[in-house]
Symmetry: C2
């Protein structure tokens, strides 16, 4: 599994941000190899989105997807003052579920 970590600082500009983000989150879910995604953003507009894919190829294809590229361009122009993208190979993955007996 691969995880793409997108860390970003929002500007104060909205101008289509929500709509583009929503549309993009739908598109990514249709991509081959997509597993899951989740996002957080704090009150200062600093946020992270993690998207999980089943392979390096799938994560890389998403990076070059035309609709994603266009959103990236708009993001640099309007919505983000800075961002960072980390493409990661997941080596270990533990989950801890609280049992009913606990």
């Amino acid at each position: 599994m691969h995880a793409v970590i997108f860390i970003s600082q929002r500007t104060s500009v909205d101008d289509g941000y929500g709509e583009t983000n929503d549309a993009l989150m739908k598109v990514v879910q249709e991509q081959p190899g997509f597993i899951d995604s989740e996002s957080w953003r704090n009150e200062e507009g600093y946020g992270v989105t993690i998207v999980y894919f089943d392979s390096a190829e799938a994560s890389s294809a998403w990076g070059g997807h035309p609709q994603h590229r266009e959103a990236q361009r708009l993001g640099r122009e309007k919505w983000y003052s800075e961002y960072r993208i980390l493409v990661c190979k997941v080596e270990r993955d533990w989950k801890w579920p609280k049992t009913d007996a606990a």
Copy 2:
């Protein structure tokens, strides 16, 4: 570089959570190979902490650190209803700074 992603759902129990978390964040910064860490948590108590290390060995040593192990135990007992830990090897790392000319 390695990234350790800790995703967790908080319970409503506080009981030392803040103090332990603050102490642990200080300890991790003193670990060999520590680079940086950042955290988010939403209003539903669902959060993520990403800790960056310079090697797999450093991230693994942190996982087994006695004070960290004790905090994990308390976390399962009191503070978290579920969590997930992903240990990741960072394959690509892009940063985009907005230039002054933009």
